[in-house]
Symmetry: C2
């Protein structure tokens, strides 16, 4: 493959002229200019490293999808509408087939989400992808981590544990699974669907929200930590294990492992949110409208800590350690 | 050094509570929220890789400064006022002394520039820094690459070539230089000063502008490429070599090498801008007010290409290849 220059590379794979929608200027100047209509811009950044966030041999089209999806998921968790994103890319070499696949996956999701590439940077180096995404949300309506209140129901979208199962299956070899469930689990890992429509519809219904990237238990703890300072007393949560929507691929593993994968597995990119009891009916109606399972899995309580209860109300032990890139 | 968890790491080195200025929410939620007053947000992203953009043993405080400085330089080139930035960091290990130094350099420049850290991501991986910076600028006043016109003067701030000299001196060993000039050159490389005040003051005076990251010749060519389509005929530039403000550390190298370092060296982070002849007096007044040399180095002409002329108006050969991360 002939060496492409840096600017040729941007032009060939990532510049799409005439697509200036929300951006006043697109790729090609010193900066992009964005004009948010809603008055505030939600911003999030994620860095993906080969061998840590994805297998080095992953299909580049899936990687292009996922790199943007995990960022859009942060916008979803704030109730923000996507506007645009920047992409910084370190590549060990210019592999045109790889770049074409990556760009295809990236732009398919970008187009489906109304999120335009507005700027970027490319350099040579160990494979590393850094996306920063921008969305708009009226500040007073944003879903925030610090808005959980005692008595709130705890809800989660979709199913849990499939992506973590697929990582375990790939890296250590696991129990046999139904072929269809296995394929679904791999899709959950490689092609997570950011819950953008859900996040935007939850404005006014839910208080706190977070997207599940590090595992339900750890991410719920972030909500508790951030919300605790805002009320009069301690804040904790009770989760009911029978209500946790485990992905069917987990049927074939032990109870203990199933709890670990569903509650601390990470990479689910579903939304966890807290809402008052009065919001139950509209949330169920929303679930029907979106065709997306929304499960009520527990309650915010005035007791610090996280408790997991079985069908008889007895406390179950589980490993709540979420995935941590520095442990 | 004990292993710090990812969230502890963010909290300890990068979270500074109570600093929410322009950001409605700071670090710690799924997204940061920014509220630009001027109606449009200028956005730029740069990725720095160890061994490519900086020497792996560089002083971390200088690296913290430079990582933000190169991004702020993009805002300067648009005439934008800094608001905030996100930081994504891949680290091979948690080295607390390194992180403390890095954060010190980063925040010193952030505070001096009124640019707040609003979000970030940390992960383990080969050392990689990705900063995305946000500023505000009224869209109609932004300095853009496509605004050069035939007859415009070409200007450049500061002096050129010192950073490229320091890279060459370090990597290949060069001719002896005056000790004071050598120290200045290393400072130019490690602590570039983004020309933010200049960029903002040039709104209404200059048309096109760009910051010099890849070398004057290549960066000027970007302005010519972007501006060419906007006028009736071809667009090119004439540069007068005696007017090029070479840094004094270049005095000790050959003429040919001096031209290469000053015109194609890269890493200068000065502003190159084009302005009508009528703006000469206010630009010289601005130079005096800012205490910053502004040199008129050439002219935009209706002939494609870039010409370098000596004191007698004769054309000089020079190597115009700018630094390119994929060649």
């Amino acid at each position: 493959v002939a060496a492409l220059g840096e600017f040729d590379l941007i032009r060939r794979f990532f510049e799409r002229p005439g697509r200036a929608g929300t951006a006043v200027l697109g790729v090609g100047d010193d900066c992009a200019l964005l004009a948010p209509a809603a008055g505030a811009l939600a911003v999030s950044t994620d860095m993906l490293v080969a061998g840590r966030h994805f297998f080095p041999d992953v299909d580049p089209e899936s990687l292009g999808h996922k790199a943007l999806a995990v960022n859009l998921s942060d916008l979803a968790a704030m109730g923000a509408r996507p506007l645009g994103f920047t992409l910084a890319l370190a590549l060990p070499e210019v592999d045109e087939a790889w770049l074409e696949g990556f760009a295809r996956g990236l732009f398919a999701l970008a187009d489906a989400s109304g999120c335009e590439l507005v700027g970027g940077d490319t350099t040579r180096g160990p494979l590393n992808l850094c996306i920063t995404v921008f969305g708009e949300v009226p500040p007073a309506e944003a879903l925030r981590r610090d808005r959980a209140r005692v008595g709130d129901d705890i809800w989660v979208s979709g199913t849990l544990g499939a992506a973590a199962w697929a990582v375990a299956d790939r890296s250590e070899g696991l129990v046999p699974a139904d072929a269809g469930h296995r394929a679904q689990a791999i899709a959950c890992l490689e092609r997570p669907q950011p819950r953008l429509a859900l996040g935007q519809a939850l404005k006014g219904l839910a208080g706190a929200a977070i997207d599940l990237s590090d595992g339900l238990a750890g991410d719920l703890q972030h909500i508790l930590d951030r919300s605790a300072g805002t009320g009069p007393g301690p804040l904790g949560a009770r989760l009911e294990w029978p209500r946790i929507p485990c992905h069917p691929v987990l049927d074939a593993v032990s109870d203990e492992r199933r709890r670990a994968l569903a509650l601390a597995g990470g990479d689910d990119y579903e939304l966890l949110f807290c809402a008052p009891v009065s919001a139950r009916e509209p949330i169920m109606a929303l679930s029907a409208r979106l065709g997306l399972a929304l499960s009520r899995i527990g309650r915010i309580e005035p007791i610090a800590g996280l408790r997991l209860l079985d069908a008889n109300g007895l406390e179950l032990a589980f490993d709540a350690r979420s995935f941590d890139h520095f442990r």
